[in-house]
């Protein structure tokens, strides 16, 4: 019997398969189509962000002859209170949001994966201590934790990345610890150990690769969540420093002019909405494709 079939056999024992009520073939197909749509939207937004310096002018170019102009051919999304072109700023804003999201998720992964593996693999007192730490972080609602850290660290790109990342760490620690606990008990791990493999080798060669699937799925969803949290901080004026074009910050500034100039707050928010929705679609699709047993979220 090959290790892979063994693994799935034992998995079934640990996590019984649920009745496949909501999972007709049509259902799965539709989900894959929506995931593809999410991927297309994401690709377009990412490409335009990356190509922003080639496509658009200076996002900070002030033009007092053209302040607060409604959308027009010259300014498709209008201009803000300083006459800056909103389309340019929304496209440049994608660079900041993708950057913050990616760095925050990478940082959370870098901290969460080792801690999760060690906690699950070592067990005992180490596990207990790590779990109490995770419980403590989870006692603070996610956005509130990021907000509290910003209160201590101060505003700015680096601090936003750190705050958003710390709020995401417990998710990864739990996820990886759970996966490690299941993998640790597999027969092929016992076999590897009998063949003389050390803890290091077992973790690197068997435990980590097997954690990969849930981590990839979670990270896709987490990217959307990180961008949303960072934008929320920006909206409160506690994110990236102006004049950096950041969607949340632009939205917060735009609210001041809401009564007469609806477009300033509308378009940056729409951009956040699209990106987060796209990440959610792709994440759900990935989960279905990579881990059919997990079922639909919620």
């Amino acid at each position: 019997m090959s290790p892979s079939t063994r693994a799935s056999d034992t998995d079934k024992g640990v996590r019984p398969t649920l009745p496949s009520a909501g999972r007709s073939a049509w259902d799965r197909l539709r989900r894959r189509r929506t995931a593809a749509a999410g991927l297309v939207v994401l690709g377009m937004l990412l490409a335009s962000s990356l190509a922003a310096p080639l496509l658009m002018g200076d996002p900070d170019a002030v033009d007092f002859a053209a302040v607060l102009q409604s959308p027009s051919p010259a300014h498709p999304l209008g201009t803000d209170q300083l006459g800056r072109d909103l389309l340019t700023r929304v496209i440049y804003g994608g660079r900041i949001s993708f950057l913050i999201g990616a760095l925050a998720v990478l940082l959370a992964l870098a901290a969460g994966i080792p801690v999760g593996v060690i906690s699950g693999y070592a067990g005992g007192t180490v596990d207990l201590l790590v779990q109490r730490g995770v419980d403590l972080l989870l006692a603070f609602p996610g956005f509130l934790l990021a907000l509290t850290l910003i209160a201590v660290l101060g505003v700015g790109v680096t601090n936003v990345v750190v705050s958003v990342a710390v709020a995401a760490i417990p998710v990864y620690v739990r996820l990886v610890r759970g996966a490690t606990l299941v993998i640790r008990e597999q027969t092929y791990i016992e076999a590897a150990r009998a063949l003389g493999a050390g803890d290091r080798a077992i973790i690197l060669r068997h435990v980590l690769p097997n954690c990969l699937t849930p981590v990839i799925v979670q990270s896709t969803l987490q990217l959307g969540a990180a961008i949303l949290t960072a934008a929320g901080l920006g909206f409160l004026g506690l994110g990236v420093r102006p004049p950096t074009p950041e969607w949340g910050t632009m939205l917060g500034e735009g609210q001041t002019y809401l009564l007469s100039y609806w477009f300033i707050a509308t378009f940056p928010g729409l951009a956040i909405f699209l990106v987060v929705m796209a990440f959610n679609l792709v994440g759900d699709g990935l989960r279905d494709a990579l881990d059919p047993r997990a079922g639909a979220r919620g």
Partner: protein, 310 residues
């Protein structure tokens, strides 16, 4: 073997205590991580050197850390969070004044999310794989993806600025509550709808439901009277867990709608670097979340007789 429920309740209560203690320790350490003199930070930018020195002695900031924490914990337990560095009023009073507004908003939103989410989830499951189902699932996807502050602004533009149906912001009348509550409820509604649908679809496939159908009971009665009761169990947990997201969302929603709650106070305290107020609100928020999770866990046992805690 079934351990008495009472023992589980006591154990779960005892388990929440270290978490709460940890919260106070974390907040205590965080504020001391800030570069600079903590006495100066707590006194505020406007305080004189004399005042700062008096505060340093009063708070025992010249003592060793463990003693400082013991003092801090003792005053927090006594409900004493110190004075606001800006207004000089006791933090606990400021929190007390704003607490009502935040609770009103959070409870209304939760009720709304449960009512709307349950109905939508049941509809989606009952009309599985039809246009109704897809519409609910699309709306739920929108609900989990939309930035709460942007949704608030869009609703404000439509219903307050253009249609003049409700006030754009502020508080005082029940009409003021409508937009903030709907805005804040969006995310939780979506999560409750997804959970109800998924859970109900699974339950509808179980043997006891087939038995009910075989007895000739109509599909509506099968869902409402038999399946839903079982399907609700995981929904209870989700509502509890959502409360954390809801508190975070409340900070943003209150700011959007100028709702005079704790969240808005927290944001202005952060902007003004009013650390005693920040400390107090963060502890109160975390405590609320821990207590709601505790209540959820206990409710879970109450609604699901299958769960045994040994």
């Amino acid at each position: 073997m079934r351990a008495p429920l009472g023992r589980y309740v006591v154990r779960r209560l005892l388990y929440a205590l270290p978490t709460l203690l940890g919260v106070t320790l974390a907040v205590f350490l965080l504020v001391r991580l800030i570069p600079g003199d903590p006495a100066r930070l707590i006194a505020g930018l406007l305080a004189s050197d004399d005042e700062v020195q008096r505060l340093r002695v009063e708070l025992g900031l010249d003592r060793p850390m463990p003693e400082q924490y013991a003092r801090f914990l003792a005053s927090v337990l006594a409900g004493n969070f110190g004075l606001s560095a800006v207004t000089r009023t006791p933090v606990i009073e400021e929190i007390g004044i704003r607490m009502r507004a935040t609770l009103t908003l959070a409870v209304t939103s939760t009720a709304l999310a449960v009512a709307a989410g349950l109905s939508a989830g049941v509809l989606a499951a009952a009309y599985h794989n039809t246009a109704v189902d897809y519409a609910v699932m699309m709306a739920a996807l929108g609900g989990v993806s939309v930035p709460v502050f942007w949704l608030g602004i869009m609703l404000m533009l439509l219903f307050a600025v253009h249609l003049h149906w409700v006030p754009a912001g502020g508080s005082g009348t029940p009409a003021h509550l409508i937009l903030p509550a709907v805005t804040l409820a969006a995310f939780s509604t979506a999560i409750v709808a997804r959970m109800t649908r998924g859970s109900l679809l699974e339950t509808l496939n179980l043997d006891f439901v087939r038995t009910a159908r075989a007895k000739g009971i109509g599909e509506g009665a099968v869902i409402i009277r038999h399946a839903l009761r079982n399907a609700l169990i995981p929904v209870v947990t989700v509502v509890g867990l959502q409360f954390g997201t809801l508190l975070g969302g409340a900070v943003l929603t209150e700011t959007t709608f100028a709702w005079p709650g704790l969240g808005r106070l927290l944001v202005s305290a952060i902007t003004a670097r009013d650390y005693p107020v920040i400390q107090g609100i963060v502890i109160v928020f975390a405590a609320m979340f821990v207590v709601v999770n505790l209540v959820t866990d206990l409710l879970y046992v109450a609604v699901d007789p299958r769960i045994r805690y040994g």
